[in-house]
């Protein structure tokens, strides 16, 4: 067996990566499995159990043999009497999986040797065992403190912002300048003719709606405001109902959009994933479910003297996605084949994977994340800076409310990186000390 030094999982001999956490175990030597519960009791252990019966009250399921960290397993092999302590104390057993294995091992060393690692065990060490059992203590895991901090950093700004004192202070975190890719996207949408047909790929689901809805509000709101005909489809089953709800909310909440009386066409879910993209690029109507919406689309397009037999007739392809692979598939399977001008609204996580297409000119514009949504809304409001959109109270977009939460969350993440990294470096130095 090879025991993962990271999580303690037992892996088969010859494994290079841990089956549980994926950690590199190629350099970890193979070790025999720890003693099973039904092993024959050695005479010295039997004598020990007779003297100290609490050690026999082992809970077999407290910790599975293959969950024991390798250092602890090694220690138990060297000093078998510790196996009883490990199994007898659920809190300690739980700690062995929750804490770095070295810490548990060093604690057991200290408990067994009265503070001198490497020394032979003394009776005083065993005297401590029942005390541990009577007062089980689970050490506070530092990440729990950070979890609380993260929760506060995200929730507090959302709670405080509606209050008058916060509004009067009119504070904003540092906001970056408007990126060139966002400006290009804005110009592409702003240049759409009145009768334009815009195909929207609504390729995100409720999982990422918190971020993506802000982008959709900015981009789709602008498209509707230009008087274009919106045609919406999705490669995800949960995409169409989300699109329907979000577009309805957007129109209801924005009087200027409601005045346009938009009639977006919902084509629904197109099964097949990336395979369907080939069909959409060659014959979009054929790829769509034969519903009344499709017939309605055909009628409306014919009224405008247009057709959808080929995406060349589409004035703009707007892809809203939280997955870089999905965005990439649209660009490679549809944009490259049809030449349809494409604007992508992507989550911040997906954007790096799509940025090369924008830099190479295959995609007209790329709007991503909270910052991108804010920058786009600022441009829509006629501002020259991203911060401008959050100054005007009447048209203040929803994304302004999230800026402090985002800033606070990122701050806590930075703090955790620095504190966690610092603690680990100190621990390494301490261990390296003779």
């Amino acid at each position: 067996m090879i025991y993962c030094p990271s999580c303690g999982t037992a892996n088969r001999d010859g494994s290079r990566f841990c089956n549980h956490c994926g950690g590199d175990i190629s350099h970890v030597p193979s070790a025999p499995p720890p003693l099973a519960d039904d092993r024959p009791v050695p005479p010295e252990e039997a004598a020990l159990l007779e003297e100290q019966p609490w050690l026999a009250a082992a809970e077999p399921d407290a910790v599975a043999p293959d969950q024991v960290a390798p250092e602890v397993a090694e220690l138990i092999r060297e000093q078998p009497w510790l196996a009883g302590v490990e199994q007898d104390e659920p809190a300690l057993a739980a700690a062995s999986s929750a804490l770095p294995a070295e810490d548990v091992a060093s604690r057991l060393h200290l408990a067994a040797t009265d503070g001198h690692p490497g020394d032979a065990p003394t009776p005083t060490a065993w005297d401590a065992a029942p005390a541990v059992k009577r007062h089980p203590r689970r050490p506070i895991d530092p990440p729990y403190l950070f979890y609380a901090l993260l929760l506060a950093a995200v929730a507090l700004p959302l709670i405080l912002q509606p209050l008058p004192f916060w509004r009067e202070a009119d504070l904003q975190p540092p906001i970056p300048a408007i990126p060139a890719a966002v400006q290009a996207a804005f110009q592409a949408v702003d240049a759409l003719p009145r009768e334009a047909v815009v195909l929207v790929a609504w390729d995100y689901d409720p999982t990422t709606a918190g971020e993506m809805n802000l982008l959709a509000d900015a981009l789709v709101g602008h498209v509707i405001g230009r008087g274009a005909q919106l045609v919406v489809l999705s490669l995800l089953p949960a995409g169409p109902p989300l699109a329907q709800a979000e577009i309805a909310r957007l129109i209801e909440g924005t009087p200027s959009l409601a005045a346009v009386r938009p009639q977006p066409i919902q084509l629904g879910y197109v099964p097949g994933g990336d395979i369907a993209l080939g069909l959409i690029s060659s014959d979009p109507l054929q790829a769509m479910p034969a519903t009344s919406a499709r017939d309605s689309l055909q009628r409306r397009l014919l009224l405008r003297g247009r057709s959808l037999t080929g995406l060349a007739n589409v004035d703009l392809l707007l892809v809203l996605t939280a997955d870089a692979d999905d965005g990439r598939a649209w660009v490679e399977q549809v944009t490259s084949r049809t030449g349809a001008p494409t604007v992508i609204g992507a989550s911040a996580a997906a954007a790096p994977g799509l940025a090369p297409y924008q830099a190479a000119g295959q995609v007209v514009g790329l709007v991503n994340g909270y910052d991108g949504a804010l920058a786009y809304q600022s441009l829509r409001g006629g501002h020259s800076t991203s911060a401008g959109a959050c100054v005007d109270a009447p048209d203040r977009p929803a994304v302004c409310e999230t800026l402090w939460s985002q800033w606070g969350g990122q701050g806590v993440l930075l703090l955790a990186l620095i504190v966690g990294g610092g603690a680990a470096v100190l621990a390494r130095r301490r261990r390296a000390r003779p």
């Binding site: 990271s6 770095p100 409720p206 994977g353 991203s386 990186l417 990294g421």
Partner: protein
């Protein structure tokens, strides 16, 4: 080595010819539609892709049936699960109740869409989506922030990545977060961030995309040439990647 090749050849020759021929022909037609302007290839490719889309839709139905069957067996206590205790033959009551709940909810959702003339836009379907699926999915994903935080805190812990890789990870994270947090408009930190995103990150992603494209091209060619057979039955599995 030569013995291995011999074994591979023998196994390959025993593989059914028809699936290989269909896969090779389909791949060739799709490739021809991409790289030639032959109208017949275009028509044939469109038909093939339509079939693939239909198959995907039917596969969803099979998946649904399989899910219902599996959870029906668990709910009835006929099938063990991964969480079933070693000494027990039947899954525990909680697990069976969960499977039962899944079946009931699945039936209600399905009925709401099938019975209503409005289909998937029926009021009950919309209600289920808005008040059950949406918050559940969003809430589950929000936990990612806590996982990220935990990962950030433990990045340098011994036993995970090597010390060098961990240090690079932490340093990159600190620099990006610092420039993000303090890099407002006009700040030199924003210039640093823009450069980091525009030069090293973009170059890295381009490299990745090129690698992915080359890998996909090779994998596709192997399927088209019949060297890889992901569609082959299980006994031919060893020959998937000779």
């Amino acid at each position: 080595m030569s013995r291995l090749h011999g074994v591979a050849r023998t196994a390959r020759s025993k593989a059914p010819l028809l699936p290989v021929a269909v896969a090779v022909a389909s791949g060739a037609v799709i490739l021809a539609s991409r790289f030639t302007s032959w109208p017949l290839a275009d028509v044939a490719a469109t038909v093939l892709v339509e079939w693939a889309v239909l198959l995907a839709a039917v596969a969803t139905l099979f998946g649904l049936a399989n899910l219902a069957l599996r959870h029906g067996r668990i709910a009835a206590g006929w099938e063990r699960t991964a969480s079933t205790p070693a000494r027990s033959r039947r899954p525990n009551r909680g697990r069976r109740l969960l499977s039962l709940a899944l079946l009931v909810i699945m039936a209600v959702t399905l009925a709401a869409g099938v019975i209503s003339p409005e289909g998937a836009d029926s009021p009950l379907s919309t209600w289920l989506f808005t008040f059950v699926q949406y918050p559940l999915q969003a809430a589950l994903f929000s936990l990612l922030a806590f996982y990220m935080l935990s990962a950030a805190y433990r990045a340098l812990r011994p036993g995970g990545l090597s010390a060098g890789a961990s240090a690079v990870f932490v340093l990159a994270g600190v620099i990006f977060l610092l420039t993000q947090l303090a890099g407002g408009e006009g700040s030199w930190l924003q210039a640093v961030r823009d450069w980091l995103i525009g030069v090293p990150t973009l170059a890295g992603v381009r490299g990745l995309l090129l690698g992915v494209a080359l890998g996909a091209a090779i994998a596709g060619l192997r399927v088209v040439l019949g060297l890889s057979r992901p569609y082959a039955p299980a006994e031919d599995e060893g020959e998937k990647s000779p």
